[in-house]
């Protein structure tokens, strides 16, 4: 919480500015869309933060999302596999991808950046080849049950007919559940502690009897599984999927969200709440840019600029706080003589 002050401030500013300057920003429809997007991107952000905590990185998320999004209808529609079987296969695929990354990173001690850069290309190629570049659709009624996940809360039995539920995306609920689980895992379980420790100093963690290999692999698996699930949500939301482009750059969005949220790529630091804020800021920005009618050309500039600003403010805030703390204690110490 306290460490996310900087970004919280930025979010507030952007929100207020847009609320004032952009017509329709506060409309129920827009807020609904905004929240849904935030939820989707936050989910993959959470996924990658597991890996980032270990001091690793996963660049393949984007094309893995593309691969999953293509494979699922390829199985369900193309080969008449049942939904459940399809989902299981998707899960298996994700686990395998995670294992593959993890094993290469630990057993062969390859650099995560390199491994996932290669798989980034590989997954994209497989996705394109699998359906020979044709667009896949999720409009088939067989996907109906799943589509609930990207619908409105009111469509779920439990929230039947509640008025407010009509303005809340189910994705938000999903994101919150995943977020809470992730936060508990990272901060309250020994596994989370292990990850934090080895993220800082793998050798020392290893010599303290932590099974670093197992934990790192676990992190990559968690990341891939989350991305696989994210892929499903994105695909269901976007409905049509182009193998050659679907999901590209999402890894950067995810990583940026994590970093904005206070994860250090040097490992050992990460806050799930922060990641969600990070995703929120980025989606909010994109939305604001549209609402304020900024030219698309500038969109990328604005996003890059504000993220950078956020990070810089963050650092400066931290420094000031540290300085103040130091000075206080110093005077205390001095007084103590």
């Amino acid at each position: 919480m306290k460490k996310n002050l900087g970004i919280l401030a930025v979010i507030a500013v952007v929100f207020i500015v847009t609320a004032i300057g952009g017509d329709g920003f506060l409309s129920a429809f827009n807020l609904y869309n905004l929240v849904e997007r935030i939820s989707l991107y936050a989910i993959i952000g959470i996924g990658v933060s597991f890996v980032i905590v270990t001091g690793g990185i996963d660049l393949s998320i984007g094309s893995f999302i593309g691969l999953c999004a293509v494979t699922f209808p390829f199985l369900v529609i193309g080969h008449n596999v049942s939904l459940t079987t399809g989902l299981l296969l998707l899960l298996t695929m994700s686990v395998c991808a995670g294992l593959f990354h993890g094993l290469l990173v630990t057993k062969l001690d390859l650099q995560p950046f390199v491994v996932t850069l290669c798989t980034l290309m590989m997954y994209r190629g497989v996705a394109r080849h699998l359906v020979s570049d044709s667009t896949m659709g999720y409009s088939d009624e067989r996907f109906q049950p799943l589509s609930l996940m990207v619908g409105r809360l009111s469509e779920l039995p439990w929230f039947e007919g509640q008025a407010w539920a009509r303005h809340v995306p189910v994705a938000l609920l999903i994101m919150i559940v995943i977020g809470v689980l992730a936060a508990v895992f990272l901060n309250r379980t020994i596994y989370g502690r292990d990850l934090m420790a080895l993220g800082r100093n793998r050798e020392a963690a290893h010599l303290s009897g932590i099974n670093t290999t197992k934990m790192i692999i676990l992190a990559y698996v968690l990341c891939s599984v989350t991305s696989g699930f994210g892929a499903l949500l994105f695909a269901l939301d976007v409905v049509s999927v182009q193998p050659s482009t679907f999901g590209s750059f999402y890894e950067l969005y995810a990583i940026a969200a994590a970093v904005l949220g206070g994860c250090s790529l040097r490992g050992g630091e990460g806050s799930i709440f922060g990641v969600i804020l990070g995703a929120a800021l980025m989606r909010l920005l994109m939305n604001s840019i549209q609402m304020l009618g900024v030219s698309d050309a500038l969109e990328e500039f604005v996003i890059g600029f504000v993220i950078l600003l956020g990070v810089i403010i963050d650092v400066i805030v931290k420094r000031v706080v540290a300085k103040r703390r130091a000075r206080q204690q110093a005077t205390v110490a001095a007084g103590a003589e």
Partner: protein, 500 residues
């Protein structure tokens, strides 16, 4: 200082340095005559290294003045300090392992020809320096491939390569063994003859007595007193440092050992695949391992702890055969290893003291299968901070801000907290002050009395002889012999250590 003395080459006047939560130095003074060897001693956290870092231009003092040859200077960078002729051998290793020995020795001051680095000159000079320290490694070998002891010597060589007026050595011998230490003493004496002034920091009072012309003592960041060569005695120094006298230093009372706790049978020696290593440690026994730097003692411990793979042989703990695949197995079997290089292998610098201490016990104390037991963690760390007298503002302080010795205590605490049955120690008192050493020895004694089996590698002859019930001596990867307590003498050990 009185009129009779000549103007000091270096003088520190009422210097104060504060850190968050600590005042490391309070109005400390210190003066150094040309061609003098000044020993600076004090407990862990007394402020020795801090003052030296200030002199080396690494940190700036909050108050106070520093004079070199009479005129006051502001040492705001390593460069200015070097240009004043001050060179510092840091307490912790600071080498770039990806570069070769020569490159490290001359890093930042490379000799050049036609604007390009003159590798030949570097090679030539390096070889000379290393020879002077009695280290015969090729200047072209990567530092990564050297054991920590030899890396320490490279650090010293680097400091010598700056022909400084003032040479500061912050615990240069902490990871050296008898042999290298004596060599270093020789070098220091030579330097004194060449008119170089030396500030020598060490917790090994023996070396201090042998070398120092004068001793300055710090306690809790303040001057605690000064001793001339005549006044120097073990007790007087300890008295000034600790503020109480620690007589009857080695508190080992051997008990009749119990049954075999650790049995190592015919494991292949990591240094010499031709050799097999076998030995036993019984419950309640303290077994020392001695040898020269590079004898392979650390490696042997690492094999037992599952860090290094072994080709053949097996290890039994409490009669149970151990799968030597990783420390995970070892820890589960109740083994604990306090490693040699605390900064890299011991502590996690960026984490709090509490977290570090809790690390090894996590699994043991977990709740509902997977959840942290934070209460337990808190209790453990509190206990250890008290038991080991770790000097820290609180157990939430990040370890990197602790003094070297206190970091070492944190590593010990981590393992004691998980109550191992067999304790492997590699240079356990490295960089630890007299008081704390005494505590650690007493602790070892108590633990042994409580039935723990302790195997400890040390390069410090006194503590080997003082603490061990039995000593295993190694030479170039082989066990050259085993000495029972009654046969322990420096000669007997050294003889085996140099190859029998």
């Amino acid at each position: 200082m009185s009129e009779s003395e000549p103007a000091p080459l270096l003088s520190v006047d009422r210097v104060t340095k504060r850190f968050p939560g600590v005042t490391a130095l309070k109005d400390v003074c210190l003066s150094l005559q040309p061609g003098e060897v000044l020993a600076l001693i004090g407990e862990n956290g007394a402020g020795k290294s801090t003052l030296m870092k200030i002199l080396a231009g690494v940190q700036l003092p909050d108050e106070g003045t520093i004079r070199v040859a009479g005129n006051s200077v502001t040492l705001d960078s390593v460069h200015t300090s070097q240009s004043q002729g001050i060179a510092l051998i840091h307490q912790e290793l600071n080498l770039s392992g990806n570069l070769d020995v020569g490159a490290n020795i001359f890093l930042g001051r490379e000799p050049r020809r036609f604007g390009l680095i003159d590798k030949d000159t570097i090679r030539k000079k390096s070889r000379a320096l290393l020879k002077r320290l009695g280290l015969n490694v090729d200047p072209d070998t990567l530092v990564d491939h050297l054991p920590i002891g030899q890396q320490q010597l490279v650090e010293i060589a680097r400091a010598l390569s700056v022909d400084a007026r003032v040479l500061i050595m912050d615990e240069p011998t902490s990871s050296l063994s008898q042999h290298e230490t004596e060599r270093l003493m020789q070098v220091v004496k030579e330097l004194r003859c060449d008119g170089v002034s030396v500030i020598y920091i060490s917790h090994r009072l023996r070396e201090v007595m042998e070398l120092a012309d004068r001793v300055t003592v710090f306690r809790d960041g303040e001057n605690a007193g000064e001793l001339t060569r005549e006044e120097m005695t073990h007790d007087s120094m300890v008295q000034l440092m600790v503020g109480r006298d620690v007589s009857q230093f080695y508190s080992r009372q051997p008990h009749p050992p119990g049954d075999v706790a650790l049995e190592v049978s015919a494991i292949t020696s990591p240094l010499d695949p031709g050799q097999r290593l076998s030995f036993q440690v019984r419950q309640g026994e303290i077994v020392g391992v001695s040898g020269l730097v590079g004898a392979g003692r650390s490696e042997m411990l690492e094999v037992v702890f599952g860090v290094r793979p072994t080709l053949q042989g097996h290890v039994k703990v409490g009669g149970r055969q151990l799968r030597l695949r990783s420390p995970v197995d070892a820890v589960e079997a109740g083994l604990a290893l306090v490693p040699e290089d605390r900064k890299k292998q011991g502590v996690i610098l960026e984490l709090a003291v509490r977290t570090n201490i809790g690390l090894a016990g996590l699994r043991r104390h977990r709740r509902l299968g997977a959840f942290l037991n934070e209460a337990q963690e808190k209790a453990d760390s509190a206990a250890m901070v008290k038991k080991l007298r770790i000097k820290t503002p609180g157990d939430l302080q990040t370890v990197q801000f602790l003094s070297g010795g206190n970091q070492q205590k944190v590593v010990l605490g981590k393992w004691l907290a998980m109550e191992p049955t067999v304790l492997l120690l590699d240079e356990p008192t490295r960089g630890i002050d007299i008081g704390a050493k005494h505590e650690i020895y007493t602790l070892m004694d108590q633990l042994a009395a409580a039935g723990m089996a302790i195997l400890f590698v040390s390069s410090e002859m006194e503590e080997i002889i003082g603490m061990s019930d039995r000593v295993i001596v190694m030479h170039e990867g082989r066990i050259t012999g085993e000495l029972p307590r009654e046969q322990l003498t420096e000669q007997s050990v050294m003889q085996l250590a140099t190859g029998g």
